[in-house]
């Protein structure tokens, strides 16, 4: 596992916030902005007549913003769009995936374009959602054959899924709908019934993650409709909503866009990932893992990033001390999304109550990071002891062959991982027959 150790050292994962605040992990390269403006050198000699201004703007520096790079760098900052039809099963990079010793990954399901959130029904059905497409799928096994069936279509960014007593709840862009008794009716699913729709319509961070809380309320992120802005009071929050949609309240604020949360089985506290702002730096800010200890807490956005520095535009007059600080940092632009606490019986004891976190992988960064699953192990008091790579291998030569979005523990203790780029779901299992002392 030498290679893994080296990889883990290279990962910009920062653990234990106290360590972060004393010695920040982010490596900011000092740049000489006067020496390298990033543009083509001027060829005009002093005193020569000024040439006509070109019609094309030079894609180089902006007055007052010498930090904005040249066109070649710009191309590397682009987001990678998901494949519209997914990838065929035989093109999935399963052979290249790496895991700690004793674990293995296999393709669980393919041909689910833009596979996003994962949930498991009471009868074992695996539900898979979309973000940029319009469908929700059920993965079912029949006569030993596994197939993905569309159970709802024509939905509006149906990213969020929750399951409770036979009913699948779907968080769309501007509403929450439900499919009752869905596992008994997979071949003729009912039409979704809307239970709640008090959301603004916005494309930016308009898709929603959703989960069922220990209080049987639906928790849903209501993202900030921008990269960086003062969000409207209705946004930048986690909200909880009763199962009939009749009661809703703000749970916490100061959230930019959370696409994953789960409850610590030991303490029942909510932990959530939050994606940091873009266009500040290659290395800053890092995505956050947050822990809610009290309803009504504020987690900093848009004033404070990663718990230790104020925003360049909106942070003046504010202090990070006003806000809750993250319990771990998960990498700059890494897009930490879905997360689950592990309570299964298959994996070794060190993974009990640890958090598996899918990192979708970066854009807005020339050297891509993420595109993996990491595991955060906790101390008894709920603080984070370590964050380590778990499932890697999707990122090669600065290109993603898959982009993990969500994780879901199966009843047998194996772990499903969705990939919205190639449209697949992987299953990670552990062979405990070979493990010593197990």
């Amino acid at each position: 596992m030498v290679t893994r150790l080296i990889r883990s050292q290279r990962l910009l994962l920062t653990v234990a916030l106290s360590a972060v605040l004393v010695a920040p992990s982010f490596a900011q390269q000092p740049t000489d902005q006067t020496a390298q403006p990033g543009g083509a050198p001027s060829t005009a000699a002093p005193g020569a007549p000024k040439p006509t201004p070109p019609v094309q703007p030079e894609p180089t520096t902006v007055p007052g913003r010498p930090d904005i790079p040249n066109a070649e760098v710009a191309q590397k900052l682009k987001n990678v769009a998901p494949l519209p039809f997914g990838a065929p099963a035989d093109k999935l990079p399963v052979a290249e995936l790496k895991l700690p010793k004793g674990f293995k990954a296999e393709v669980y399901a393919s041909g689910i374009p833009n596979a996003r959130s994962l949930r498991i029904g009471d009868k074992g059905t695996v539900f898979v959602s979309n973000r940029v497409l319009d469908k929700v799928y059920a993965v079912v096994e029949r006569n030993g054959k596994r197939e993905a069936k569309v159970i709802a279509a024509g939905l509006d960014r149906p990213n969020g899924l929750a399951f409770h007593q036979g009913t699948l709840y779907i968080a769309e862009g501007t509403r929450i709908s439900k499919l009752e008794k869905i596992e008994d009716n997979l071949d003729s699913p009912p039409k979704p019934v809307v239970i709640y729709s008090d959301f603004l319509n916005h494309q930016s961070h308009g898709w929603k993650f959703m989960a069922l809380g220990p209080d049987n309320m639906l928790y849903v992120n209501v993202g900030s409709p921008c990269n960086i802005c003062e969000p409207p009071a209705t946004n930048g929050q986690l909200r909880r909503i009763s199962l009939d949609g009749g009661r809703a309240e703000v749970y916490v604020r100061g959230v930019r866009n959370s696409v994953g949360f789960d409850w610590n089985p030991a303490t029942k506290e909510l932990y959530f990932t939050d994606n940091g702002r873009d266009w500040l730096s290659e290395d800053l800010p890092e995505d956050e893992l947050n822990r809610v200890t009290k309803m009504g807490q504020h987690f900093g956005f848009p004033y404070c990033h990663q718990g230790n520095f104020t925003d360049r535009e909106l942070g003046w007059g504010r202090s990070c001390d006003e806000f809750e600080k993250p319990v771990a940092l998960l990498g700059p632009h890494a897009a930490a999304l879905g997360m689950r606490f592990y309570m299964g019986k298959m994996f070794p004891a060190e993974y009990q109550n640890a958090i598996f976190i899918a990192r979708h992988g970066s854009w807005n960064r020339t050297k891509k990071i993420g595109g993996d699953v990491v595991v955060a192990k906790l101390n008894k008091d709920g603080s984070v002891k370590s964050v380590e790579p778990f499932l890697t291998g999707f990122l090669k030569n600065n290109e993603f062959s898959g982009r993990p979005v969500d994780v879901q523990v199966m009843k047998d203790g194996s772990l499903l991982v969705s990939d919205d780029h190639a449209g697949a779901v992987y299953r990670v299992s552990y062979d405990n027959s070979k493990a010593p002392g197990n």
């Binding site: 902006v62 682009k78 497409l133 308009g206 266009w279």
Partner: protein, 198 residues
């Protein structure tokens, strides 16, 4: 067929839309040139549209076109004539159409004098919002990012406004992000500028 939409189109273009529904099922075995003839009735014989509010398709990236065709077929974008024309087509049909359109020549900017004041104003917005980062230094597009250079100005203005108002759905949300702080006048300047790039 949505009458208000077709009324805005040219007579030829509208007629092509009307016959398409009947022709589509029989057309599946025909060569691609015949199959896409009704498309080009509105989008321009050589992929350069002469129809108000209808975009030119020539030179658009194949990935972008595939995604847009998929979004029309599956009604992720609701534009009645497009939804009708593409309903029932297979993934392979969409890919073949996208490949064909992408190889048509890119549209040319309109002739005539250029308002340098508008160009400068647009340039400032572009630098601030980094349009060229994704759409390319000459706005030729690539992957999921469309070609903007030489596109119809009226169409660009409409597309920008629709993104800003959240009435047009993107394959991802970056356009809504980018346009969040941009005013309506600036959108018109952007459309003016981009239509005049080549």
């Amino acid at each position: 067929m949505s009458r208000p939409t077709t009324l805005a189109l040219s007579r030829f273009c509208a007629a092509a839309l009307l016959v398409l529904g009947a022709a589509r099922s029989a057309a599946a075995a025909e060569p691609i040139e015949q199959r896409i003839a009704p498309c080009l009735a509105c989008h321009g014989a050589n992929g350069s549209s002469q129809t108000p509010l209808v975009p030119s398709l020539g030179g658009q990236p194949e990935f972008f076109l595939t995604v847009q065709l998929l979004m029309f077929r599956d009604k992720l974008r609701v534009v009645a004539p497009m939804n009708e024309m593409l309903s029932g087509l297979t993934d392979a049909d969409l890919k073949a159409m996208a490949a064909y359109f992408s190889k048509l020549p890119p549209p040319l900017p309109p002739a005539g004098a250029v308002d340098s004041g508008r160009m400068e104003r647009a340039r400032a917005v572009i630098e601030q919002q980094r349009c060229n980062f994704c759409h390319g230094a000459t706005y030729g597009g690539g992957d999921d990012d469309p070609r903007l250079a030489g596109q119809r100005e009226d169409y660009l203005a409409k597309a920008l406004a629709d993104y800003k108002n959240n009435t047009r759905r993107g394959y991802d949300a970056s356009m809504a992000d980018v346009l969040y702080p941009i005013g309506d006048e600036q959108l018109l300047d952007l459309a003016y500028f981009l239509a005049r790039q080549r």
